[in-house]
């Protein structure tokens, strides 16, 4: 089960993040998770939003360079060692994680959610389900 992530190319110059986040806010789109991968000259803003299709349209209409990637949103228990366990579930099936970041979603008070980009979504989904993990679906992001 995957979720759509938007990756936006952002040049390193003042005002870019402000402009992009304002676009989303004005369109009443809620950001559920985000991270920025940065280099000297540019960054990639990765976003999980409540309405990916609408966000894609809003950003493209403004001339932004956006691409969609299917990622996993994993729920784990919010306690020491639980992330390590989840990583181990992937590692034992030889699945590599390209990047991950924390989400703003808290479905229950004792859980935390992570966005995971892995080399094989299907294998990772099976591996995580087999170890008893819950993956969030697109309509659980609202």
């Amino acid at each position: 089960m995957t979720v759509k992530q938007l990756s936006v190319f952002v040049e390193n110059r003042p005002g870019r993040l402000s402009a992009i986040t304002k676009l989303l806010g004005d369109a009443n789109i809620n950001i559920r998770a985000m991270s920025i991968a940065d280099t000297k000259d540019f960054g990639i803003l990765r976003l999980i939003v409540d309405d990916a299709e609408k966000a894609l349209k809003v950003l493209k209409d403004e001339g932004c360079s956006v691409t969609i990637t299917n990622v996993l949103v994993l729920r784990i228990t919010d306690r020491p060692g639980s992330l390590a366990q989840a990583m181990n579930a992937l590692y034992k099936d030889n699945i590599s994680v390209e990047y991950m970041y924390a989400a703003f979603i808290n479905t229950e008070s004792n859980t935390a959610c992570l966005v995971l980009r892995v080399d094989d979504n299907d294998k990772a989904t099976v591996a995580l389900y087999d170890s008893g993990y819950k993956l969030l679906s697109q309509n659980e992001l609202g």
């Binding site: 992530q5 990756s7 190319f9 952002v10 040049e11 991968a37 280099t39 000259d41 540019f42 990639i44 990765r46 001339g63 932004c64 360079s65 956006v66 691409t67 990637t69 390209e98 990047y99 980009r117």
Partner: protein, 436 residues
């Protein structure tokens, strides 16, 4: 050793010079008409016969030659001597990567090195001096051109070639070189590196440097002279005419004397082709009148400059040219390398997956040219990982480097962020300030 290398030529009276030029011009025109079908066709089309050229005053009757003619006749179509008499070839790059090639007979090399020897002597060099040649050796005319001239003067010539700056400095210091030749920006880079290495100008023995192959300013001259503790002399030349040594500075450092006994200069209106009087700014045109293998007629250099015939304090009567102030085409000279925007366009197009929108930004920082190419990111180039985009940058960098022979910084920018224009796209932003 006097202050002139070839006094009879360098200090000839105007009448003597014109008589010699007229004689050599007639001979050259007859030679190319007989030996080079391309020139014969051009002259026939223009309705000019070799007999019509009786003196330098008839020069304007001849048709112009331009870079495209060299490409159309590539490789040997303009050679006026049989290949068995050609002892050297040099080449330079052109737009879209197609190079042009020129040839020299033994006599041509002798003439060329004589021109360079005049330049070196004017800079104060004698056979007791050491010449550190840090121009690249190879198809580029800089290295071997200066090498042969220095050898002719009898200088102890050190063929260091380009690259490996720290080693250059060690050699400069240990071998006790009194002269150096390289691009002016490299001279400043050497000075900076010396400072980093803890070597001061008193540790080296440089008296003068011969700097050319790129545009530079009076301010750069002062900086080089101050940092390296030597005189900084300008030299001008281009492969199509012969290489460095077409014109050179004397101790007055006020304009470059053209070796006009070998190369007749003219200034023309770049739009009409009309010859302009001395002292007027226009496009510089050269006719080689003392070459066997590649005696080019009325070659349009695209350099914009002014000619001046006035009595020089050094005693030379050779006509002087001012530093070229710009060019009539879109060619850029970056770190001594000729770059045409169209070359970059064809590199981007050849990669297939880049956007056709780009902009070249050239600037000068710490007296070295910076060269950045901004490329708009195309939709399908985007990825969610940095690595994919950086791989794309590296691929473009590599392709540009292998085509231009010069490193550019590739900077990906957001779609539609580069300015669009109705007509001709603004491809080049040159922020270098070369006018003092």
């Amino acid at each position: 050793m006097g202050k002139y290398w070839n006094e009879s030529m360098e200090c000839a009276t105007l009448d003597e010079m014109r008589a010699l030029q007229s004689f050599r011009l007639q001979k050259t025109v007859k030679r190319v008409y007989a030996n080079v079908p391309y020139y014969r066709d051009m002259m026939d089309k223009a309705g000019v016969k070799p007999e019509d050229i009786r003196s330098v005053d008839d020069l304007h009757l001849l048709p112009f030659t331009c870079k495209q003619d060299l490409r159309d006749t590539y490789p040997y179509g303009l050679f006026a001597a049989p290949m068995e008499d050609v002892v050297r070839l040099h080449a330079s790059s052109g737009t879209t990567g197609k190079q042009i090639v020129v040839g020299y007979t033994r006599k041509d090399l002798d003439m060329w090195s004589d021109c360079v020897a005049r330049a070196l002597t004017a800079a104060g060099a004698t056979k007791s001096d050491f010449m550190h040649v840090s121009y690249g050796y190879g198809l580029f005319t800089g290295g071997l051109g200066l090498h042969d001239g220095a050898t002719k003067v009898g200088m102890t010539t050190i063929p260091v070639s380009s690259g490996n700056t720290k080693r250059q400095i060690t050699i400069l210091k240990d071998f006790g070189s009194t002269f150096i030749c390289c691009t002016p920006s490299y001279a400043l880079y050497l000075a900076e590196t010396m400072k980093e290495m803890g070597i001061s100008k008193s540790d080296i023995k440089l008296k003068a440097g011969i700097f050319g192959a790129e545009a530079w300013t009076e301010q750069m001259r002062k900086e080089i002279e101050d940092k390296l503790g030597c005189k900084a002399m300008d030299i001008y030349g281009l492969t199509e005419i012969t290489g460095p040594g077409v014109a050179f500075e004397c101790e007055c450092q006020d304009g470059m004397h053209i070796n006009e006994d070998n190369f007749i200069p003219e200034i023309i209106d770049p739009d009409t082709g009309e010859v302009l009087p001395e002292g007027t700014e226009g496009e510089l045109v050269f006719t080689c009148i003392n070459k066997e293998a590649f005696p080019i007629l009325r070659y349009r250099t695209k350099d914009i400059c002014v000619l001046e015939r006035s009595k020089c304090k050094c005693g030379r009567t050779l006509i002087k040219m001012r530093k070229p102030r710009g060019r009539t085409d879109d060619m850029l000279i970056i770190r001594g390398v000729n770059v045409f925007p169209s070359q970059i366009e064809s590199v981007l197009l050849s990669l297939g997956d880049t956007s056709p929108y780009y902009q070249i930004v050239v600037d000068r920082k710490n007296n070295t040219d910076t060269f950045e190419i901004q490329v708009e990111l195309a939709e399908h180039m985007l990825s969610d990982t940095i690595k994919t985009i950086e791989d794309m940058e590296a691929k473009i960098t590599e392709a540009v480097h292998s085509t231009l022979g010069i490193q550019a910084k590739i900077r990906l920018v957001e779609p539609k962020s580069l300015p669009r224009s109705e007509g001709k796209a603004v491809r080049v932003i040159d922020r270098r300030k070369l006018v003092d």
